[in-house]
């Protein structure tokens, strides 16, 4: 495929340090066999294919989104109706996503930073540190549908019944609390990995300088190390946020079954909503797709467009943080 793009242009890396020049000298000679040239052509074709897929996804969703997204969809909740025009919008889903994102990251961020600090700064006994590392790796690999099933077990237990709707001793087990708690596990490994990277890139002498002026380890961590690794913490948090927003399986199992907020009776304001079932954009897209229960593809496109905008914004924010961190510069050892 892409034979029109397959011709490798003459490699002319323009502004590079001196060693590159040597490479070009080698390049200029006829050491490239036909097989090598075909390989490079495959590289170009696949690279352009990746770009084409990304552009196609964004462009297609923008076109469909702008066509079908009406501003009132963002402020009207879903309702029963015969046609796609009558059945309201997805404001509940939008707010659900925001609630889940806030609560999930509020749980995951302190936990993740705490674990990373322990791993880098304390890490004793070594056996526990190793177990923790592999635990975090395993959590990163656990499919979210398995996390969701585990969530049904813990949040349906009577001890945690106060977190969701319960009637006559039977705990319903679906609530914003349940979903956010499990979603925070999805974000946790990313935050731990990113924070660890930040902390361990700070050279040893910075810590020693702080100890030398009489600061405790805890104070050093809080006043010096964590502020210094703020870009990495922020990156981890945003990557985690992206995963939370994008997760569907946990929402379907621990929150969904409805397209509206279903507040619990007999609880005060924020709690009645948080203990009740609800929906998020991902769940709405899933249900509104032809395989779901609603089958309203136009609205699915609109909601997917909003979701994509959020993901793009998060990606952009990660880029900005990266660039700013690079401008400030890294530690010189």
């Amino acid at each position: 495929m892409g034979s029109s793009v397959a011709t490798p242009p003459a490699p002319t890396p323009a502004s590079s340090p001196p060693p590159r020049k040597g490479k070009d000298a080698v390049e200029g000679s006829a050491t490239w066999r036909p097989a090598d040239r075909i390989g490079l052509a495959i590289c170009w074709a696949l690279g352009l294919l990746f770009c084409a897929i990304a552009v196609a996804i964004v462009a297609y969703l923008f076109v469909q989104g702008i066509k079908f997204l009406k501003p009132e969809m963002l402020v009207t909740p879903a309702s029963a109706g015969f046609s796609q025009g009558e059945s309201g919008g997805f404001s509940d889903a939008l707010f659900g996503t925001l609630i889940v994102a806030t609560m999930g990251i509020a749980l995951a961020l302190p936990t993740g930073v705490g674990i990373a600090v322990w791993l880098v700064e304390y890490g004793r006994p070594t056996a526990l540190a190793r177990v923790t590392e592999s635990t975090i790796e395993s959590i990163a690999g656990i499919p979210s549908i398995v996390l969701a099933l585990f969530g049904t077990v813990i949040f349906s237990s009577t001890a945690l019944g106060f977190l969701s709707r319960s009637s006559e001793g039977v705990v319903f087990g679906r609530s914003f609390f349940a979903a956010s708690a499990m979603l925070s596990l999805v974000a946790l490994p990313l935050i731990v990995a990113s924070t660890r990277e930040g902390l361990s890139s700070i050279p040893r002498h910075v810590r020693e300088a702080s100890y030398a002026v009489g600061k405790t380890k805890a104070a050093t961590t809080r006043r010096i190390l964590l502020p210094a690794s703020r870009p990495q913490v922020a990156t981890g948090a945003m990557l985690g946020l992206g995963r939370i927003i994008g997760d569907t399986a946990i929402i379907i199992v621990l929150l969904g079954a409805t397209q509206n907020f279903a507040p619990v009776e007999g609880a005060s304001f924020p709690l009645n909503y948080l203990r009740g079932a609800g929906t998020t954009l991902t769940n709405f897209v899933y249900e509104a797709s032809p395989t779901g229960n609603l089958n309203q593809p136009e609205k699915a496109y609109a909601a997917a467009f909003v979701l994509l905008l959020m993901v793009l914004a998060l990606n952009g924010a990660v880029d900005v943080v990266h660039r700013r961190a690079r401008k400030v510069g890294t530690w010189s050892s």
Partner: protein, 330 residues
Amino acid sequence: MNEEHPPEYGPKWSDRRVERMLGALVCAVVGLLLAMIVTVLVRAWPSFSHNGLAWFGPGGSVDDQLNAIFLSGQAGAEYIYTFHAWPLIWSTILITGGSILIALFSALFVAVFIVEFAPEWMSNILQPVVRFLASVPSVIYGLLGVLVLVPFIGNHLVTEEQKASVAGVISLSGYSLLAAITVLTVMIAPLMVSIFSDGLRSVKPGWLEGSLALGVNRWRTMWKIGVRTARPAIVAGTVLATARAIGEAVMLAMISGSVGFAPNPADGLIFIFEPSRPLAPTIVKNIDQLSSPPANATLFAIASVLLFSATLFSLTGWLARRSMRKYGSA
């Protein structure tokens, strides 16, 4: 501030106390994982103990079995546990294996391209593109698959003769292995690209320069020295992507076809147009059956298989990446 006077700062945020608090947090997370593994296995036990190894084997229609299991729990009579998951496992193997193979090939080329051969403007475009593709939610991939790719396959790629030839068994409507593998490849390839290119970047420049100095051209140097040195990263990326692919539930629930059918490659090329359903989407599709005790056990049995294989894969990937550090990232 307080920390200039250690004694005052001490009692509340003393080192020992902070260390204990963080240690407790770490232990809690480790404990949570252990609790999860134990819970899932305990819940799954009835299903495994009734079926033994036949659980993994073929036999009968999976969908009928799931239905019978669910209804027996509703009726409250003798619970039925008979379940032979082979079609689901086979579908998982086909879809995961197929997309891993394609993704491995393309991710390797793209990673080499980004690290070494792409002009600067091109790699400046490709890197955000890869990051973006990795961060698109799976439900969006599923939606595009179901509304764009599936109708395309159903209307243009599958011929009427092919549809007629299997009419009595299954319907070829576009929900197919092909759609599932294509979309899954797009989802996991970016993950592989980012791990591969990290690995390729950490190859010591001296090794590459040595090869170049011997007159080997850049292309062969990159493959013979760079890719070989970065082998642990390639293993790690592949294995982590496999873990991700096995656990992918929602996207596959949308486009794999949701029929407990095992496509047979011996039937010829038509098998890539046949629908199936892997393990993870089975849980999503049957999630409202959790209230029936035998169905609950069966779903947890599926989850425990997923948990076991995904954990195995991600730990392997982690070990492979650790061994990479021995080479010392330059």
